[in-house]
Symmetry: C2
Subunit: 295 residues, 2 copies
């Protein structure tokens, strides 16, 4: 649940000064949006998934729609008339620095949307109020505040954390949580059944049952790190849904992410379960038998 977006990745020699201009030397368009990336990854791994999101009127009949259909992603989409499917404009300069402009467009409709009651929902986030309502109605809830974390009040964060089974955050988001809640990091983590902190090239850390487990990244030739986080979440959630324990799910996440960074775009090189499993075994050993998740 969250954003479906079109990612515009633009290369410039340098960022323009205020009231200046520059030229774009490369412009690529990819399928994106945190929720859509995660749903596509889950579907590709063979797990049934529904993308709950919002798109513009131009989405119907688009390549993106056909792509999601080809992956088998079920969709529960609000079509916001007069608004566009959200877009991210990401400019990268020759020094490798980035600036991002995110256009909410159709995602603005989340705020007024009625929250569904769902059995297993991953909040890839969008509107904080909507996410609180979904979290409070959901049975098994996973939460990834992502860049939208800055829009949440402390009360909204508290209400969501009180409901969730799984938290995903990167280092910046984890630091933001400690600030906004005025709580030390350990106190936040102790209150959660499962928390995963992703740390880019340094891998990820799983906190569960009072213990900390480190999961390394799988070394590959990285072409584009964008989408690694969403692919990791897709791998984790697909494995967790199959009944694997959290540590195995983290490793499946790391393995899934290792494919996505090998190509440009967030949904470009998603592995199916078998392809993922081959690489998993090479790096982490045999995949254990999944257990039965009691929910």
């Amino acid at each position: 649940m969250g954003h479906t977006a079109i990612d515009h990745i633009l290369r410039v020699p340098r960022f323009p000064d205020r009231n200046g201009s520059t030229y774009v030397s490369d412009h690529q368009v990819f399928f994106g949006g945190g929720a859509a990336n995660t749903a596509s990854g889950i579907a590709r791994l063979g797990t049934p998934v529904t993308l709950v999101s919002a798109v513009g009127g131009e989405f119907a009949g688009s390549e993106y729609e056909r792509w999601l259909t080809s992956l088998g992603v079920e969709r529960d989409l609000v079509v916001a008339q007069g608004k566009r499917t959200p877009r991210a404009f990401v400019f990268t300069d020759d020094a490798g620095d980035q600036v991002t402009y995110f256009e909410w467009g159709a995602s603005e409709t989340f705020a007024a949307r009625e929250a569904p009651a769902l059995d297993f929902v991953h909040l890839a986030t969008a509107d904080p109020g909507f996410n609180v309502r979904v979290a409070e109605k959901g049975r098994l809830v996973s939460f990834d505040p992502g860049q939208d974390i800055i829009w949440y009040t402390a009360d909204q964060i508290r209400r969501i954390l009180a409901r969730i089974r799984i938290l995903f955050a990167n280092r910046h988001e984890m630091a933001h949580l400690t600030r906004i809640l005025g709580m030390p990091r350990d106190a936040i983590l102790e209150g959660l059944p499962v928390a995963v902190e992703t740390r880019d090239a340094e891998g990820s850390v799983l906190y569960t049952g009072g213990r900390e487990h480190r999961v390394p990244v799988i070394p590959v030739d990285v072409v584009d790190p964008t989408g690694a986080g969403d692919a990791y979440r897709a791998g984790f959630l697909a494995a967790y849904h199959r009944g694997y324990p959290p540590l195995t799910a983290c490793r499946v996440g790391a393995t899934t992410a290792s494919f996505v960074v090998e190509k440009a775009g967030c949904q470009t090189n998603l592995p199916d379960w078998n392809r993922m499993a081959v690489r998993y075994r090479t790096h982490f050993g045999d995949l254990p038998e999944p257990g039965v998740r009691e929910g």
Copy 2:
């Protein structure tokens, strides 16, 4: 001759820091590109015109194509496979400052294009080398270096100035010309039959026959100044082509521009000749009889 582009006008609360992000609160898409804006303005004023430009494969059947057809703009377009119609991404913050990212896309094909021999050509600019070749083959040549002025060598500028009948430039471009040529401004202007310097809200200055004439802007409610320069050039060129003297052509240019700034977008409120003439008379008195241009 020059760019046909899609203008993306995006509003943000503030520009992001390096490696930061912001959100887009408004995103409008308009028909743009200096050459296309000027051609549309000329066609709307009832003068036959051909747009010599380059577009991407997605242009065929687009709204933009239909719009140009509806205005009666003839087209000589290179369709660059695998490239997009050029785009400008213009971000404006709450302080009113702008940053512009221009994607050449299909316009990159100008460099290798064979120059046509034309009777009356306005170089709304794109590739410097192509413009030199067109200027050297053209009979009556008008030149507007625009933002692309930074790409010209001194030699290219010299070769074009040696050929042209009319120069258009704003203050920044005029200053750039004096620097790159190492010549005082008066020496540049004296070498040209007609030169027009546009000065935003301060109107324009015509230099011709050793004299300087000031033309004020027509006071209107300005909604969006973008496109004023191209509309001015369209008005000037349409009037000049009809046989009006340069000073009258400047006034027609100022009148045409006064319509375009009343609405957002560069091609949104283009006047036909009669609508233009009514406003002209209110501000500048009767339109004189056009003379016969001897070429």
